[in-house]
C-alpha cells in the first residue's frame, strides 16, 4: 500500500502569538516550528503502522520553503520513507491542496492522509479539497483507520456520535485523536532521516482564493471575580444579572 501523508509545520503549542507589519503577518520571531500534531501523531504514525503490518511505502509531502526541511526531517526520523517539498509559500488552503493534488495525480497512491486540521489556521480544509481535486472519496475526521485489501474501514465522528464506514481505495482520510499514539523518534531514526530522499518540486501556477487581510488578538480578559465558596447564590445571581448567561 502506497500512502501519501500531508504534513504542515505549525508553531509549537506554547508559542507566543503576535503579529507584525500592521497586524497583517504572523510574527515568527522566537517561534519554534513543529510538525502539526494531527499530521504527525495520527496521520503519519497510523500510516507507518499500516506499512509495518502490510508492507508498502510512506511518502510525506508539504508545501513550503527550504526552512521547512527541519520539520520534514523530523517526520522522516519518525519513519516515513521519503519526502516531497513543493517549493512555494502555502498562501491558503486551496493553493496548498491544489499543489499537492497536482503532484499526487497519477502517482498511484492508495491512501492520502491529512491531520483533521492544523493548530495554526484550524480550517480543516485541505483533505476535502484534495479529495475533490483528485475525484476521490473523503472520510473526514476519522478516529480509527484500517485497511484490508482495497477496503478502507474507518470510524468517523458525526454530529452527536460516531459512525463506522467503509470505502474502496484510493481515498482521502483526515485523521483525529484515537487513530494512533505519538511516536518519539529514536537516534537511529534521526540518523537515517539525514540520508532519506527529499525531492523538491516546483509549484504549478495558480492563485489563492482567499487572503488574510489582517489579524487581531482577543481583548485581555479582565481579572477573575472570586466568589465565596459558601455563597453560591451570589454566583447564580451574577450569572443571571451580570453575565446574562442563565
Amino acid at each position: 500500500m502506497n500512502i501519501l501523508v500531508c504534513i504542515s509545520k505549525a508553531p509549537d503549542t506554547t508559542s507566543k502569538i503576535a503579529f507584525t507589519n500592521g497586524n497583517t503577518q504572523f510574527d515568527e520571531n522566537g517561534v519554534q516550528y513543529i510538525v502539526n500534531p494531527y499530521d504527525e501523531w495520527y496521520a503519519l504514525v497510523r500510516a507507518l503502522e499500516l506499512k509495518e503490518a502490510q508492507g508498502g511505502n510512506v511518502t510525506i509531502i508539504t508545501v513550503g520553503g527550504a526552512a521547512d526541511d527541519a520539520v520534514i526531517r523530523k517526520a522522516l526520523a519518525i519513519g516515513a520513507d521519503d519526502a516531497v517539498r513543493i517549493d512555494a509559500s502555502a498562501t491558503d488552503a486551496y493553493f496548498t491542496a491544489m499543489q499537492i493534488a497536482a503532484y499526487a495525480e497519477g502517482k498511484g497512491f492508495d491512501l492520502i492522509l491529512t491531520g483533521k486540521e492544523t493548530i495554526d489556521y484550524n480550517g480543516s480544509q485541505v483533505g476535502g479539497m484534495l479529495a475533490e481535486a483528485l475525484n476521490l472519496p473523503y472520510i473526514a475526521i476519522a478516529t480509527k483507520l484500517d485497511v484490508a485489501g482495497s477496503t478502507i474501514s474507518c470510524e468517523r465522528e458525526i454530529v452527536g456520535g460516531v459512525q463506522e464506514v467503509e470505502v474502496q481505495a484510493p481515498a482521502v482520510v483526515s485523521c483525529a485523536k484515537g487513530m494512533a499514539e505519538q511516536r518519539i523518534p529514536n537516534m537511529r531514526g534521526i540518523m537515517a532521516a539525514r540520508t532519506k530522499p527529499l525531492t523538491v518540486v516546483a509549484p504549478v501556477a495558480l492563485d489563492a482564493l482567499t487572503t488574510y487581510s489582517s489579524y487581531s488578538l482577543p481583548a485581555a480578559k479582565s481579572s477573575v471575580k472570586l466568589i465565596d465558596p459558601n455563597n453560591l447564590d451570589e454566583l447564580v445571581a451574577l450569572l443571571h444579572n451580570e453575565a446574562k448567561v442563565i
Binding site: 480544509q125 476535502g128 475533490e132 475526521i141 487572503t211 453575565a243 442563565i246
Partner: protein, 313 residues
C-alpha cells in the same frame, strides 16, 4: 441569492437556524438546500428565520460528501447563489472544502461573525488565541459558520418547499454502524456546559457534575486525562485534540487549565472555574472563580441553581 445547506435528518438543528439567520443578515434572499426526508411542515418553519425557498432532495442520505457537494453545486447553479453557507460542523467540514474546489470559490472556514465593513470575515486562528480576517478573492464565496456564533432570530415569513433532483449519483461510502448516545445534547451545540477533570478523583464521583448539568440544562464535558484513562467517553473531551466548543457558559471543576485545554474552550462567553488550588492557571482565563473543593461546591451550586429556577416560574 444566498444559499444555505442544512442537514434536516433529525429535524431542524440549532445549527440550521443559525446558518439561515446568518444568511438573512447578509442581506439577500435566502434559499435552502437539504437532503433528508424531513416533512414540509418541519422545513417551512425556516421561513420564520428568513428562508424563502427550500430545495429538498430526498434521494440521498447525506453520508457521502462527494454526493452532497454535487447537490449543493446543482442548487447553487439553479438559484444563482453568490454566497453559500454551511455550519462548520462535521458535515460542513467535509463538504465545504470540496465545494470550494468544484466552484473555484474561496472558503471562509469557521466564520464567527458577520462580515466586517471591508468585507473580510473573522475566524478563529491559532486555536482560538487570535482572530484572522479572511478576504475572499473569487466572485462566489463559501462561508462555514462556527456553531454558537450567532443567535437564531425569528423575523416572521413564509417559504415554499420544492422537490429537487441534485443529480448526486451513488454513494461511495458504505455505512456499517452508527452510534449516538441517547438524549444527550451534542457538545458543540450546547449553550451551557459543565466540565470536570482529574480533580474529581474517579468516574464514580461524576454524579455531582451530572446533577449540576441537569439543574442547568447543560451538557457535560471533561478534560483530556479523564477521557484518556476512560473515566468518561472520548466524545466528551474538550481541548486542543478533542472538541473545541464556544458555549455561553463553561463551568470547569477540578481542571487546572493547561494551554491545550484552554484552546478548546477559550471561545466560551463566560467561564467559571472551581479549583482547590488558587494558583491553578485556569483562574487567569476565568470570569468567575471559586477556590474550593468541587465535592462541596458543586452540590451547593446545584442547590443554588434550583432555588434560582424556582423563582423564575
Amino acid at each position: 441569492m444566498n444559499l444555505v445547506y442544512i442537514n434536516s435528518a433529525n429535524g431542524l438543528s440549532k445549527a440550521a437556524l443559525e446558518t439561515v439567520t446568518y444568511a438573512k443578515k447578509l442581506g439577500a434572499d435566502v434559499a435552502v438546500v437539504t437532503n433528508a426526508n424531513a416533512s414540509a411542515e418541519t422545513l417551512t418553519a425556516l421561513g420564520n428565520y428568513g428562508a424563502s425557498t427550500i430545495l429538498q432532495d430526498t434521494a440521498i442520505n447525506g453520508q457521502d460528501p462527494s454526493q452532497l457537494v454535487k447537490l449543493v453545486a446543482a442548487a447553487a447553479e439553479k438559484v444563482g447563489a453568490s454566497t453559500i453557507i454551511f455550519s462548520h460542523d462535521l458535515i460542513g467540514k467535509a463538504v465545504a472544502p470540496r465545494l470550494s474546489v468544484r466552484l473555484k470559490a474561496g472558503l471562509v472556514a469557521g466564520a464567527v461573525a458577520l462580515p466586517e465593513p471591508d468585507g473580510s470575515i473573522r475566524v478563529n486562528v491559532f486555536s482560538g488565541k487570535a482572530f484572522g480576517y479572511v478576504r475572499v478573492n473569487s466572485n462566489t464565496r463559501i462561508i462555514s459558520l462556527l456553531p454558537n456564533s450567532i443567535q437564531p432570530e425569528q423575523i416572521g415569513g413564509n417559504c415554499s418547499v420544492e422537490a429537487f433532483d441534485g443529480q448526486a449519483g451513488s454513494s461511495n461510502i458504505v455505512v456499517k454502524a452508527t452510534k449516538k448516545p441517547e438524549g444527550a445534547i451534542p457538545l458543540p451545540e450546547a449553550e451551557l456546559v459543565v466540565s470536570a477533570g482529574r480533580g474529581l478523583k474517579g468516574p464514580e464521583n461524576w454524579g455531582v457534575v451530572e446533577d449540576l448539568a441537569t439543574a442547568l440544562g447543560a451538557a457535560t464535558a471533561c478534560s483530556r486525562p479523564v477521557a484518556d484513562i476512560g473515566w468518561r467517553p472520548h466524545h466528551e473531551h474538550v481541548g486542543q485534540t478533542g472538541v473545541a466548543i464556544r458555549p455561553n457558559l463553561y463551568i470547569a471543576a477540578g481542571i487546572s487549565g493547561a494551554i491545550q485545554h484552554l484552546a478548546g474552550v477559550n471561545g466560551s462567553k463566560v467561564i467559571v472555574v472551581i479549583n482547590t488550588d488558587a494558583e491553578a492557571p485556569f483562574f487567569k482565563a476565568a470570569d468567575y472563580g471559586i477556590v474550593g473543593d468541587a465535592f462541596e461546591v458543586l452540590p451547593r451550586f446545584t442547590e443554588a441553581v434550583k432555588r434560582f429556577k424556582a423563582t423564575q416560574h
